[in-house]
Subunit: 410 residues, 2 copies
């Protein structure tokens, strides 16, 4: 089972490793690349000023990053300083990149992002995956990925890792889908590679949250929060917790099961075996039934949004009830983990207009011990594109955070 | 407001600091002291083997730690190795120490622990603090602390920091009690020093959880979990989340408000303004009312335990109902944060015999998506001693984790 934690001894920190010269170089490569990623374009002198490293050290480190194809030079940068302006360093728009993959109940998707997080190639195809043999699904996904890699190559991009988004419980460390009820996958071990790229698997709600965390300033209205609860729904209701800019996985990697938080403990029986889980009030089936609509095989979120926009009273009432249940469950979550924000993401972001008011009312009524701003709850601008984008960005972030690490490109 | 997180830039880690020689020495002092803390007695050669540092480096670092009074030598250690056995290093039982302080609704308490976490001096006095002016309470506490410091001096112990446990919402970074309803304290800024020692303030539930985390192997039946939810009750119901061996504070430092997680959203009105909060089912007043007992000014937990042990049916039924409500709220918490364990601590640990069965039943029924072992819920062996012990241990842990840091003793 995955775990972010090691067992420290009861009275000491004996597991900590001593610092070394190699460790210093590795850390300083990350410091320089991180500065370029955050503030490009930057001259070498700017990098030195921002990081506290000497110019000589920066120059040496930049040679390594340049040879690895991670940074490139724009030409002389404007400089307010006296003396020769340095060439401006930016993240390379060619070379190492990330491949994102997604298996949904009704679709397959893939995209390639470059080091700066820009989506350069993207494809989504309809595919009825519910109950289909996993090897067939993965073969189709491999075909889609091969097309994208060819397109990426034409752009001189070279994905060095692939991450697959799955709607279900995932053991990321073991590379296993523990249970994806809507696909019919259980204890499915994924191959360690796809088309020669190391392949990881991750829960789609987690990846949507990471995309929200990493969305570039240009896409966001303000600085992205680093401590938030991200709620999304596709086939089920999932949440992801981001803490201090990192995904919070829990002891076994299963954190974020908001869909099975009790809302009314004596409420209807949930397929999970418990009574009154959030999914019984805000899940796909519950909302469709409450709205008087038949269970839809297609895009039920789009259907609900359309009917609500047309003014359907039963649909609006069903969404309001779902919003209230979401708000009640989230109030408990906010009382417990004290995030700075709550983000409604995934497909449900498209229903924000009808869900958010009731969610806000419940949060305002139930998070009372310390202040809670209504604006701290918002709908994601990424919506259902978030999970795939997050999958592609994982590889890019790993490179930037430790260029000598995972993929050894530095 | 306190925050463990800094704002990383959207696409990089530019804030990371470069590694330096000074940083290496500081880190390696912590590595050596941590090894001694975890595995003492250890020879210098043992430390080198455990840490990967050279023997020469270890010897130099040990000189510094010895001069700071942090380690001492026992004399020759038994050694299976060929050659001269080295002197065994242990944490010093004299010198730097931690002072813990506690203000309860009905008592004041203080204790001093040495570097190995052993309580060397301890005192608890009755004191009716509800609604009493804070400066009077703190003056009495200062008097108690002065007595303990004199006793500690006789043992050649020198506390270098004091931490105060308070039943209420605390802004630890600002040194402020935001709201302690049962004491009548609101926005109370504590002095930065007490008797010349730097003074910190912390929520008692958090400190109880830290004591549980840091309890020494001798006191525990097995290795202490590093990812757990710690529920305690004194005047109100509080929880603390420990993640990866660290206290999880939330974005603003207010995580763990389990007492106001909704259990029955349409339930009775809580003084907080919301309906159906956990405190309305498992808080002091709710349990006493449900048991048909008058609100007690004294030790109501001891009273309930006594009556339950005597076989009182209304008391047992009231505790069973409280346990069910605790279990429902905790099931939501477990689904959300996926801890490896849940610990019932504080005064409620003494009611474990009557609370735990219903708590276990609710957890078993509601944490169903992935396995939950009934044994993962237990009552703390520290009980209501936990908060004070945790307060004293904070200082000791800070020294061991970074001897050159906070108190500069290394």
């Amino acid at each position: 089972m995955p775990s972010h934690s090691q067992s420290p001894s009861p009275t000491g920190s004996g597991q900590r490793r001593p610092a070394s010269q190699q460790g210093m170089r590795r850390q300083n490569l990350a410091v320089v690349l991180g500065a370029v990623a955050a503030h490009a374009p930057l001259s070498r002198a700017d990098v030195a000023a921002r990081t506290g490293l000497t110019r000589a050290a920066v120059s040496t480190l930049v040679v390594t990053l340049h040879e690895a194809g991670l940074v490139s030079e724009l030409g002389p940068a404007p400089s307010g300083r006296v003396g020769r302006p340095g060439n401006a360093l930016v993240l390379s728009s060619e070379g190492p990149a990330g491949l994102g993959l997604e298996v949904g109940v009704e679709h397959l998707a893939a995209c390639v992002v470059d080091l700066s997080g820009e989506v350069r190639v993207q494809r989504r195809v309809a595919s009825a995956n519910r109950g289909r043999p996993a090897d067939e699904v993965l073969a189709d996904l491999g075909g889609l990925a091969a097309e994208l890699l060819a397109e990426a190559e034409a752009l001189k991009l070279r994905p060095v890792g692939a991450v697959l988004a799955v709607p279900g419980l995932v053991d990321a460390a073991a590379g296993t889908v523990v249970h994806a009820a809507n696909l019919g996958w259980r204890e499915l071990r994924l191959p360690p590679e796809l088309l020669g790229l190391p392949l990881s698997v991750e829960n789609e709600a987690n990846l949507g949250a990471l995309a929200e965390l990493w969305r570039t300033a240009g896409e966001a209205e303000g600085p992205a929060p680093v401590d938030f609860v991200h709620v999304s729904a596709e086939a089920g209701i999932g949440a992801a917790l981001v803490v201090g800019g990192r995904l919070f996985r829990g002891a076994r990697g299963f954190a974020g099961e908001l869909g099975h938080v009790p809302v009314h403990p004596d409420g209807p029986l949930c397929p999970c075996g418990a009574h009154g889980c959030l999914e019984q009030y805000a899940g796909e089936r519950a909302v469709l039934a409450s709205a008087g609509l038949p269970e839809a095989a297609g895009d039920w979120v789009a259907l609900l949004a359309k009917r609500a926009a047309e003014g359907s009273a039963p649909v609006r009432r069903a969404l309001e009830q779902a919003g209230a249940a979401l708000g009640t469950a989230l109030a408990g979550a906010v009382n417990l983990v004290d995030p700075e924000a709550v983000v409604l993401g995934g497909a449900y972001a498209e229903l924000g207009e009808w869900l958010l008011p009731a969610m806000r009312a419940e949060l305002a009524a139930r998070v009372t011990v310390r202040p809670w701003e209504p604006g701290a709850l918002s709908a994601s601008g990424l919506g259902r594109a978030g999970a795939l984008l997050g999958a592609a960005l994982v590889t890019v972030r790993r490179i930037i955070e430790d260029p000598s690490g995972a993929y050894g490109v530095g």
